[in-house]
């Protein structure tokens, strides 16, 4: 479905054009929802579960609609803008997310996944590494976690994350570095052989 939506985008107006039109023709905004609503819904579901996702995604688009007059029309892809609004709304549930992560770490039961999984058939106890990862996610600052997950789960680029969060790209880099360092014990991922930089300047 999503591939079809994406393919659709190529020979239709880009997001900026849609948003521009929606200033006079509000109905155009529903088309933007058709393009990006499913992806945002999946992202929010992955963060907070299915029960909160409907409200957060609906609110994201309503806030976006109200702010459409201020959208930077030089940006053809509205995803960073929409993810940025969603991130702020997710931030409202920051305590709940930390609680979910702590519970997953402690009990191995993922309350977020249970909102969409078939409870009886699919109740899977998380692996030790996933539990550790969840406890590491619980220790991150809200901003660091958002940066990490926008890159890992929403596939935004660094520039897009910087735009979404309204922070300089250097801040994106330092947040990501911090977040990865804290999740390292669960994730692995340091290259033991990497020592370059010495040679580069020798």
């Amino acid at each position: 479905m999503v591939d079809a939506l994406r393919a659709d985008m190529s020979h239709r107006a880009d997001d900026a054009e849609l948003i521009r039109r929606s200033r006079d023709e509000p109905d155009e905004f529903a088309t933007l929802f058709g393009r990006h609503g499913p992806e945002l819904h999946r992202y929010v579901t992955r963060r907070l579960g299915g029960s909160l996702a409907d409200d957060i995604v609906a609110d994201t688009f309503l806030v976006a609609f109200r702010r459409r007059g201020r959208y930077d029309l030089t940006r053809p892809d509205a995803r960073p803008w929409l993810y940025g609004i969603a991130a702020n709304l997710i931030g409202k549930h920051h305590r709940a997310e930390v609680r979910f992560c702590r519970a997953l770490a402690r009990t191995g039961v993922d309350e977020v996944a249970e909102t969409y999984a078939d409870r009886v058939a699919e109740r899977v106890t998380a692996s030790a590494a996933h539990r550790r990862l969840a406890s590491a996610l619980a220790t991150l600052s809200a901003g660091d976690r958002e940066v990490l997950l926008l890159i890992a789960w929403a596939d935004l680029s660094y520039d897009e994350v910087a735009h979404a969060m309204g922070i300089p790209v250097g801040t994106v880099r330092s947040r990501l570095h911090r977040a990865r360092k804290k999740t390292r014990a669960a994730l692995g991922g340091v290259d033991p052989t990497a020592i370059e930089g010495v040679r580069d300047h020798g």
Binding site: L89, S135, T139, A185
Partner: protein, 334 residues
């Protein structure tokens, strides 16, 4: 691994999306001041599969639900975790404080690097904004000096050791990798700054990144990373790091900044006019200038305009380094 976590999250069903899309259409028309019924006759912009009846049904359901109370009650505004309880922030002269830090750092013993099969141990805590007082997460972890394995205690206290899969694109290094990198750096502050700002490692990595940051920003970021590697820091180099920090534009020092464990220290931060969301401190212990932890304070509400603040201005996230050191086996504590 992170990409695997909840990778089975489903895409929303088509009818769920259609219902939400229809609801959005109604609410945006309402906001734009266009009566819904007058426009019903126009062709809908929705994807072909969605029938008009679905839309009308959705509209009726929505109308039925939305009578009475507003859809979202205003959240009680959380009180932010108390900031450092002094009335106004007090600042110190960065050049003076950092020179003092350099002098102290230069007197530390120069230790031989650990063996590749030894382990670096770290215990730290984090305090979330809006958390209940005293509600903290404490983490303990081990990483082999050569970076080939990591270890942690699981919820039952059992030690889990994990092989590290190389991720050549990442910008982080093994302790040994940092060790070699640090020992190759010059100890003259100007030469050090130039080397750090131009280091391809920190420019090109993480490898999926193609963004641009300015050199002052990079220098501050990378020195912050290096100062977090104190177990392997040569004393003369640490001294040079502090003197280099003092040369970076925008670096300031606030006195009496608390880490996640409530300990007061010297808060080193860099004023970045483009970052108005948080101020991020690296906290040094007065006297010996060891790293105590970090503190981030929200300078404004983290919220989209027109919506409720997710995290309010003044909220604080803080960490504290509780213990670190080199041990022979994973699971041991120094």
């Amino acid at each position: 691994m992170l990409r695997e976590l909840r990778a089975d999250t489903p895409w929303p069903e088509a009818d769920r999306i259609a219902t939400m899309q229809a609801a959005l259409l109604i609410r945006t028309r309402h906001k734009a001041g266009r009566p819904f019924l007058r426009r019903l006759g126009r062709p809908m912009l929705l994807a072909g599969a969605v029938g008009l009846m679905t839309i009308i049904t959705a509209a009726l359901v929505l109308a039925g639900r939305s009578g009475g109370a507003p859809p979202q009650a205003a959240p009680s505004r959380h009180t932010a975790a108390p900031a450092t309880p002094s009335t106004a922030p007090r600042y110190a002269d960065p050049a003076e404080v950092l020179e003092q830090a350099a002098l102290v750092a230069a007197t530390r013993p120069d230790e031989a690097p650990p063996r590749p099969d030894q382990w670096q141990y770290r215990k730290y805590l984090s305090q979330q904004p809006l958390g209940d007082p005293g509600e903290v997460d404490v983490m303990e972890e081990w990483i082999r000096y050569d970076g080939k394995q990591t270890a942690f205690s699981d919820a039952t206290g059992e030690l889990r050791v994990r092989d590290t899969g190389p991720d050549p694109g990442d910008d982080d290094l093994s302790p040994e990798g940092y060790d070699r990198k640090l020992r190759a750096l010059p100890t003259d502050p100007d030469a050090l700054l130039a080397r750090i700002s131009g280091d391809r490692h920190w420019i090109d990595r993480p490898s999926e990144d193609s963004s641009h940051e300015d050199s002052a920003q990079r220098a501050f970021r990378v020195i912050s990373v290096y100062l977090g590697q104190q177990a392997v820091m040569p004393p003369k180099l640490e001294a040079a790091m502090y003197r280099a920090l003092a040369k970076i534009p925008g670096v300031e020092i606030e006195v009496g900044v608390r880490d996640g464990a409530g300990r007061e220290g010297l808060g080193v931060f860099r004023k970045d006019p483009r970052n108005d969301l948080t101020r991020d401190y690296l906290i040094l212990k007065p006297g010996d200038f060891r790293l105590l932890g970090s503190r981030s304070i929200y300078l404004r509400d983290m919220a989209a305009r027109d919506s409720f603040p997710g995290i309010p201005k003044g909220a604080v996230y803080a960490t504290a380094e509780l213990a670190s050191g080199i041990v022979d086996e994973a699971g041991q504590r120094p």
